[in-house]
């Protein structure tokens, strides 16, 4: 190869002594970049240089932690809008085959996908020679207990005042309006879904999830919420909203409440548990003391380490100072 290139060199790249031509040398450019002399910050990690970082971390984290902790603990008071969750534990909604078992196109109202759902939905794809709508294991296993909350206004005769539970507004706005759509076309939902069949486990077809046209079919918010598969086996899902009616009354005044559960959903099969949670949320979400504690802990640890480094640095500086003198 070398020979070729040499020969080529002679052809096109004249040597530096070419007449009249500038004295072209192979001298590299003396630029900061090429000579690797770019100005640079050179931190050196020693106790002395690092300890401010630790103190700063401590000083920032501890207040944040306290703030979070306080906020989180305040959530207890049921004021403002109250969120009603159902919780499931030991339910592996993040199981790989389970997570995949859905057809987003179908859920988006794609007519072809409606009648011919994705293969990912197997074995909940077709039933009785009809496509299942909504197909897939996620939809099939949808939570279908009904929870009703009553305020016991009179304990003696168990007079129950139902609490208004708002069904809408529990799903992400984008889910409800963009991702999930009923099949297009005129006519009632029933007509739109007429060539499909209900999921195996369901008692009712998808167009009978609700009576409200705006919360029925694929855009039923309970359904949408369920379809957002939980990250961890113990999870909660938003079920209803209890809106605060006026500033004067607490949303859920103290008293006895009656929860009516229409029991449809078997959890024994997977050793699961069901829960119902009522909670308000703060600026940083639901009640979770962990983050606050974590911030405080990390802040303190950091502070402590800073002190350790300070001691080391101090001791070290002493010795090095004496060494300094001897020189």
């Amino acid at each position: 190869m070398a020979m070729n290139y040499n020969a080529k060199d002679e052809v096109d790249g004249g040597p530096p002594c070419a007449p009249g031509g500038a004295a072209k040398t192979r001298r590299p450019d003396n630029t900061a970049f090429k000579q690797q002399r770019l100005p640079a910050w050179q931190p050196i990690l020693t106790a002395g240089t690092v300890l401010p970082t630790f103190f700063i971390i401590g000083l920032i984290f501890i207040p944040i932690g306290i703030g979070i902790f306080v906020t989180s603990n305040n959530i207890r008071e049921i004021e403002g809008n109250v969120f009603m969750y159902y919780g499931l534990s030991n339910f592996y909604q993040n199981h790989r085959r389970y997570v995949k078992s859905r057809d987003d196109s179908q859920l988006n109202g794609d007519p072809s996908a409606l009648l011919n759902p994705s293969k990912e939905c197997e074995p909940y794809r077709r039933s009785e020679d009809k496509p299942i709508a909504p197909c897939g294991a996620i939809a099939n296993s949808m939570f279908n207990d009904t929870l009703e909350l009553f305020l016991v206004t009179n304990e003696s005769d168990l007079t129950l005042t139902p609490i208004t539970l708002k069904k809408k507004g529990i799903a992400w706005w984008t889910d409800k309006n963009v991702k999930f759509r009923n099949p297009p076309g005129a006519g009632s939902l029933e007509e739109k879904f007429k060539d499909t069949t209900k999921p195996v486990n369901w008692h009712q077809p998808v167009y009978k999830l609700d009576t409200d046209e705006d919360n029925n079919g694929f855009i039923n918010e309970d359904f949408i919420v369920w379809m957002r598969t939980a990250a961890l086996p113990t999870f909660r899902k938003l079920y209803r909203l209890i809106e605060r009616r006026s500033d004067l009354h607490p949303t859920l005044p103290a008293g006895q409440y009656y929860l009516n559960i229409t029991y449809n959903y078997p959890v024994h099969s997977f050793d699961g548990r069901k829960r119902m949670i009522l909670s308000t949320i703060s600026w940083m979400g639901g009640k979770n003391p962990f983050l606050g504690i974590a911030y405080i802990t990390i802040g303190s640890i950091s502070f402590l380490l800073g002190v350790v480094l300070l001691v080391i640095n101090h001791k070290y500086r002493n010795s090095s100072n004496t060494a300094d003198i001897t020189i």
Partner: protein, 1464 residues
């Protein structure tokens, strides 16, 4: 045009197949087909038949170095890429993803990274191939003159159209397009000079000769009449061999040799026009067969990395298996219960746990594939390319004199430069300049010291430094001026005084010389200008005058006194006993024959015009420009001159010899005198040129050399023309060369021999001590030998000059044998060798010369630095022992104060005995001086108490071994002992070693000691050594480019090795090591996140991280910052590294990347992934978060953690680092935002729509993103800080020192004085520029052990750790090495009272060292007994006064620690 390709290699004749196969038959293409009588010709009626049929296809001259064609590119490139196992693996994974049961990602998406990697590599290959194609195309379309049958003349054709059997006409300065048999030359003697620079880089001219039988042709060669058949070897790559014969139509055979072959790629020089027949074309030419393409080596770091990749594979398999088992159990648990979330098979049946486990295993492998870093290999390639770029760009490695910078020829072993442990260096041309300068000579037993000459040489040294200043002030103007007007300077400066000479000398001169090197090989002014010794000059001129008067007498020489006769012969020998080609700038030489003058004038005008428009320019060459024009303008005059001066050649030789006295060319003298100044000597070796120049200084000028005559010009005697009967070239076995001439004055046949003294002295005529003449001779010989020894001690290269007078009978007798030898086809070389030996006996000693080979600039300093850096330097040279030792002393490789073990053994047994004795000695010394028991080398074949394997443990001796002993020592039985001994020695010097031995030594050290080796050399004899070593460095010096061609790195000078290794090597190693570690960390940490998740998803191989992030994370989001750091990070600044070379040891000991570091890294990665997983886990526990909304913060956290981690690891932050980190973060978030907006339904199973947007509105996201990276990295930061404070490594010390005193390290002096206690009497001493250990240390040591000097506590307590430090470092253990500073620091904290106790420990070995009597007795005994008994000598010379001198620990170590301490 239908060409009859009457060439065949394999006529279809089964009987003769075997013998025919080894040869090739070439016929002229111009001959009409011979018809049926020749089967080959019959079969080759057309090309098509020829190529298709049984007849083997002969390559045409088309050059095709490309690997691919448009069609074959894709399949072929892919095929090649799949040779890399990693690629196969990744493709397998990607394909696995297409299986629905196990797929983890969208199948197409999973292919993306693999395709990306493949595409990047393919594009790189394509680009390389395209540039090859372009250069091929250019070369293929060069033009040359080919004889056309139709037009009956030479017509212009492209190179690629040339075929075997074509006749090609070449003019001066044209490049030879194929391997061509020389059939005709314009040179009167059928000679042609070629320059093989393109082939081997040698710029001297080589002679080629027209095939015998054609040179005698009277008329111009006519291709049409060429009917001979050429039989030659099959194409092979041996440049120095060509055999064959030419069979003329009348059945006559004549042998062909390599002298008849013009090789492709060479350039025609000095010869106006040649013609020949193409023998090998295209890829069958020797030049192309020698092309072995670029070198691929695997660096040590990469080997180690591959091992760790295997660990990662194991880890991956383990994780997947764990997951699979877990999933099996999980499925088994829920299967019975028909859990709601269990998804059955598509047919409704539920999965069996075992099947589920298998699926899970496969899916896990896909999901966790990130653990095996896809991009690692690509990233490393990119980083190495950038490193190579920066090394190439380093201005400090640019050599102004030769206008060359360092070249990295091997692209993938940059980091090996940082781990070298052994350097094997050639001496001549590597340590020395290979500029041979005539220094002294002795003639007839009388020494001529040439004092003036020595002074002149001394001046050159000063001038060099002066010149630098001048150049810097004058700038480029003066340089350019000298370039432009080089012709005039050439003539003028020699006549001017030394004062003016200075101005043009050195740099500018050297630069110009290098530019004109094509015509001025080995002739810098320093080599040419020799100030003659007045005494000798007087004798020479006396001799000359006498002969001028006596030349008309019968026996002119007979009346000369023996001494003067010797003087005369001595200079004649110097002048003609060589192969120097004389050229004048006005080349080429013309074919001056009568018939030429008879030609029509048109021809001459044509010639004239052609010369005015040199062929190079005409065909697009532009490089000769100025030169060519100058040349041609001189031409008209010169051609006349030369034609006039040479017409005497037409006369028969016999006639000319008869009138020898009148050969003073009638008109030549006056005209030649003016020209003499412009004569240029082109020699094959620099010594030859030096001798010719030396003779010229004594007015004995070589003016002319033709094939069979040499002309010498003497001031009074005029021109003497010697008939050159034979030239027996130099070879390394005979170590001498001879010429046989007929003396014009005496008509005697003389043999002049020039060779190594050891050889020539043995070949002298044995002289009887009876007569006075014999006694006188003997005296002369012993004196000469004495002076030879003296020269050797001075480090001069010695040559003996001898003469033999042959009687006609003797000559005739010898000639017969010689001619037989020459004409034999089989083992011709062997016979010629024998013949030469027959001739070169009974010589008469004339004298000897001493030639100095000057040390290159900065060699001693470089060696000292390299040694401080812990490199062991071995010098392997072919020179004689004395010369080598003296050079070794000169370059500070050996120290006068240290012991030198000399190993000269005559037999295997003697060698074994000597080795044992040396070992015994070294061992006893070692056990005395260093009590610690250190690691023993397992590879040693015998068990010593290896008291210290470290070279620094005591006053380790140096070993000198000669070639013969080396041969014994390298035998299987002794090699272990030899190696063990050599390992103990501070430096090893192997003299008289052959190239093979050189490579064997390197191989031995490499394989047995498992050490990283570097070989550096400049000549062809170093090639094998360079190839064997881990890193081969070639010096692009004077001895041609062969070493460079074989090397991985080419440096212009030896001294650049220092910066190459200590700065760039260290950086490259440190950068790559850190990057590789970071890569492993990153991937493990990322995979860890996924793995922990499996515990919460039933081990179902689910991933919370979106598939896009998973796949592009490594490739896009986190790749740039690490690349920037890998390319630009500097752990210690360059000047600091240079000032404290021992920092290099970190690379040698693999401190940055060793198994421990790898596993610590992995543990840290596991920890960080735990933190980064569980903080979001707990933060989102029991919330309504969905898988991917939770996975996105985890990804973001991972990215931030990576960046912060990289931040902790990055030592220098340039704006590029900041930019890269910022870009990474920005890229992640912007890609995520775009991706999450782009499509609501497109990316199942994750439903990323609006996820990022939602998260960005969630404070929890920010809070987790803040706390997780910080808490993940707190421990690392803390421990780094702690280590940095308490147990800083040397590198950290260096970095701190450089930061603390940024200005300090611009001047070298301050550093050493800094460490010296104030008032130290030795400050001046250690303030010397080179802090060679042997210089600065002993004083320090004395300081330490003498109580009165120990008043300074700091001097004491630094001494102790120093000793430990260097001891331990020598052992290659890092743990104790790093613990040393802790002792120094922590134990000294309470007070300095322990300074006293420590001061005793260095003193302890010292006391044992003063145990001198035992040494000297050993020395005495061994040398006596062995010298007499075994004929060999063991010398244990030592400086008695400086017995306590120790090499290490070097001073700067001390600086580091002392200064490093008060930085806090």
């Amino acid at each position: 045009m239908e060409q009859e390709l009457a060439v065949a290699e394999e006529p279809a004749s089964p009987r003769r197949r075997r013998p025919r196969r080894r040869t090739r038959t070439v016929r002229s293409n111009l001959q009409p087909s011979l018809g049926a009588e020749d089967p080959a010709a019959g079969a080759s009626k057309g090309e098509r038949l020829l190529t298709r049929g049984c007849v083997q296809h002969l390559a045409d001259n088309r050059l095709k170095t490309t690997k691919y064609t448009l069609l074959s590119f894709l399949p072929k490139n892919l095929f090649e890429q799949f040779h890399r196992l990693a690629n196969v693996y990744f493709v397998f994974i990607a394909l696995l993803n297409f299986v629905p049961a196990v797929n983890a990602f969208q199948p197409g998406l999973a292919l993306a990274p693999v395709l990306f990697i493949l595409a990047v590599t393919a594009i790189k290959d394509l680009w390389e191939d395209y540039s090859r194609h372009r250069s091929d195309h250019e070369i293929n379309h060069l033009g040359c003159l080919v004889f056309s049958r139709e037009e009956k003349k030479y017509v212009n054709r492209y190179w690629k159209e040339i075929r075997v059997g074509d006749f090609v006409h070449l003019r001066c300065n044209e490049i030879i397009p194929a391997d061509i048999l020389l059939l005709s030359s314009s040179d009167p003697d059928g000679l042609c000079h070629i320059e093989t620079a393109n082939l081997d880089g040698e710029t001297n001219l080589k002679q080629r000769q027209v095939v015998r039988g054609f040179s005698e042709l009277v008329s111009e060669f006519n291709p049409l009449t060429f009917t001979s058949v050429i039989e030659c070897e099959k194409p092979n790559n041996d440049l120095s061999r060509f055999r064959g014969c030419i069979i003329h139509s009348n059945g006559e055979r004549a042998g062909l040799h390599k002298e008849n072959l013009l090789l492709r790629g060479c350039t025609i020089r000095n010869t106006e026009a040649v013609a020949g027949i193409v023998i090998y074309a295209g890829h069958e030419t020797k030049a192309l067969l020698n092309n072995s393409g670029p070198r691929y080596k695997r660096s040590q770091l990469e080997r180690q990395m591959n091992c760790d990749v295997l660990w990662c594979v194991l880890l991956l398999v383990f994780m997947s298996l764990f997951s699979a088992v877990g999933h099996g159990l999980w499925v088994w648990r829920y299967q019975e219960k028909k859990a709601l979330f269990d998804v059955p098979e598509s047919d409704g049946s539920s999965l069996s746990p075992a099947t589920a486990a298998v699926y899970s295993f496969l899916t896990m492998i896909i999901v966790l594939q990130v653990l095996i870093p896809v991009s690692l290999y690509v990233s490393i390639e990119i980083v190495k390319l950038c490193q190579v770029y920066f090394i190439n760009q380093d201005i400090e490695l640019y050599d102004e004199e030769t206008d060359s910078q360092l070249q990295c020829r091997a692209l993938n072993i940059t980091e090996d430069l940082g781990q070298i442990q052994y350097i094997f260096s050639d001496k001549t041309g590597t340590l020395t300049e290979n500029k041979m300068v005539f220094r002294r000579c002795t003639v007839s037993g009388i020494e001529y010291s040439h004092d003036a000459n020595a002074q002149r040489l001394a001046r050159y040294q000063e001038v060099d430094s002066e010149e630098e200043e001048v150049i810097s002030r004058v700038g480029t103007v003066s340089q350019r001026g000298s370039i432009g007007s080089h012709q005039s300077i050439w003539i003028t400066h020699r006549n001017q005084s030394i004062k003016t000479h200075r101005r043009t000398s050195s740099r500018a001169e050297a630069k110009r010389a290098s530019m004109l090197s094509k015509h001025t090989a080995f002739s810098s002014p320093m080599e040419k200008d020799i100030t003659p010794d007045p005494k000798l000059l007087e004798k020479v001129s006396e001799c000359d005058r006498f002969l001028a008067i006596a030349s008309h007498q019968e026996h002119p020489l007979a009346h000369l006194s023996p001494e003067l006769s010797d003087v005369f012969d001595f200079f004649i020998a110097l002048t003609i006993c060589n192969t120097v080609v004389v050229t004048s700038p006005d080349q080429p030489r013309q074919k001056v024959r009568v018939r030429l003058e008879l030609k029509s004038p048109v021809k001459t005008i044509e010639d004239f015009l052609r010369r005015f428009t040199p062929s190079r320019q005409a065909s697009g060459y532009s490089n000769t420009g100025n030169l060519a024009t100058n040349k041609s303008s001189h031409k008209s005059g010169s051609s006349v001159l030369s034609s006039l001066s040479q017409d005497s050649m037409l006369l028969k030789l016999e006639e000319r010899l008869g009138q020898a006295a009148s050969t003073l060319a009638p008109n030549g003298y006056s005209s030649q005198a003016g020209q003499a100044e412009e004569l240029r000597y082109e020699a094959e070796s620099p010594d030859e040129a030096a001798l010719v120049y030396a003779a010229r200084a004594y007015s004995c000028t070589l003016v002319h050399r033709l094939q069979n005559q040499v002309s010498v010009e003497l001031p009074h005697l005029g021109r003497l023309t010697f008939e050159l009967l034979h030239t027996l070239g130099f070879d390394s076995i005979r170590k001498r060369m001879s010429v046989v001439i007929r003396h014009p004055l005496t008509d005697e046949i003389n043999v002049y021999t020039k060779g190594a003294d050891s050889v020539v002295m043995d070949l002298l005529l044995p002289c009887s001590s009876d007569d006075t003449r014999g006694r006188h001779q003997k005296k002369i010989r012993s004196r000469t030998q004495h002076y030879l020894n003296l020269y050797a001690v001075e480090g001069l290269r010695t040559l003996c000059i001898a003469k033999r007078v042959l009687s006609k009978e003797e000559y005739a007798c010898w000639l017969q044998g010689h001619i037989e030898a020459e004409s034999s086809v089989n083992n011709r070389e062997e016979l010629l060798f024998q013949s030469a030996i027959r001739l070169e006996t009974n010589l008469h000693l004339l004298g000897a010369t001493g030639i100095e080979d000057r040390l290159q600039d900065g060699v001693p300093e470089t060696i000292a630095k390299l040694r401080q850096a812990g490199l062991q330097i071995w010098v392997l040279t072919g020179d004689k022992q004395e010369t080598a030792i003296n050079i070794a002393y000169a370059c500070k490789l050996l120290d006068h104060g240290e012991e030198v073990i000399t190993l000269n053994a005559e037999s295997q047994e003697a060698c074994a005995a000597l080795l044992d004795q040396c070992l015994h000695y070294v061992r006893s010394k070692g056990s005395q001086s260093s009590p610690e028991n250190t690691e023993s080398d397992v590879s040693m074949g015998f068990s010593f108490n290896p008291a210290s394997t470290s070279p620094a443990s005591g006053p380790s001796p140096s070993l000198v071994i000669d070639g013969r002993s080396l041969a014994y020592a390298l035998e299987k039985s002794l090699e272990d002992k030899f190696l063990f001994l050599a390992k103990q020695c501070r430096s090893v010097l192997c003299c008289r070693s052959t190239p093979l031995q050189k490579s064997m030594v390197v191989k031995l050290v490499r394989s047995k000691l498992k050490a990283m080796t570097l070989a550096i050399g400049d000549g062809a004899n170093d090639v094998s050594m360079i190839q064997v070593a881990d890193v081969g460095v070639g010096i692009s010096g004077q001895e041609g480019m062969q070493a460079v061609m074989a090397s991985d790195f080419a440096v212009p000078r030896f001294r650049y090795l220092e910066r190459l290794l200590i700065v760039h090597g260290h950086w490259c190693y440190s950068r790559l090591a850190n990057m590789v570690l970071y890569f492993f960390y990153k991937n493990t940490m990322f995979v860890g996140l996924l793995f922990w998740f499996q515990f919460y998803c039933g081990f179902s191989a689910s991933a919370m991280i979106d598939q896009w992030y998973l796949i592009f994370f490594n490739l896009l989001f986190s790749s740039l910052p690490q690349l920037v750091t890998g390319v630009l990070d500097k752990d210690v600044p360059a000047n600091m590294l240079l000032k404290e070379p021992q920092l290099y040891k970190s690379g040698q000991n693999m401190e940055e990347y060793r198994p421990r570091a790898f596993w610590l890294n992995m543990v840290d990665a596991a920890f960080q992934s735990l933190v980064c997983f569980f903080i979001p886990y707990l933060a989102y526990y029991d919330s309504d978060v969905d898988v991917f909304t939770w996975g996105t913060p985890v990804t973001a956290i991972a990215l931030l953690t990576f960046l912060l981690h990289l931040g902790i690891e990055t030592k220098t932050w340039t704006w590029l680092n900041w930019l890269a980190c910022g870009f990474s973060t920005f890229l992640f978030f912007s890609v995520a935002l775009i991706y999450n907006t782009s499509c609501a339904t497109c990316y199942p199973p994750s439903n990323p729509y609006w996820t990022m947007q939602t998260l960005l509105g969630d404070p929890l996201f920010y809070l987790t993103c803040l706390i997780a990276p910080v808490s993940a990295l707190l421990p690392r930061l803390f421990f780094k800080a702690l280590l940095g404070s308490l147990f800083p490594t040397q590198l950290q010390m260096g970095r701190r020192l450089a930061k603390k005193f940024p200005s300090k390290y611009t001047t070298p002096k301050e550093t050493s004085t800094q460490a010296q206690p104030p008032g130290d009497p030795e400050t001046a001493f250690s303030g010397r520029r080179t802090m060679g250990p042997s210089e600065s240390l002993p004083k320090d040591r004395q300081l330490a052990c003498s109580p009165e000097a120990s008043g300074e506590p700091s001097a004491l307590d630094t001494n102790m750790p120093l000793k430990d430090d260097t001891l331990l470092e020598g052992l290659g253990t890092q743990v104790p090495g790093s613990s040393v500073p802790r002792e120094a620091v922590s134990e000294e904290c309470p007070g300095h009272s322990n300074g006293k106790p420590t001061s005793e420990s260095p003193a302890a070995p010292l006391s044992s060292l003063f145990n001198l009597p035992s040494f000297s007795s050993l020395n005495w005994i061994s040398s006596l007994s062995l010298a007499s008994g075994l004929g060999s000598v063991l010398q244990l010379s030592r400086g008695s006064l400086q017995m306590d001198k120790q090499d290490s620990p070097p001073q700067p170590d001390q600086d580091l620690r002392v200064l490093g301490r008060y930085i806090f």
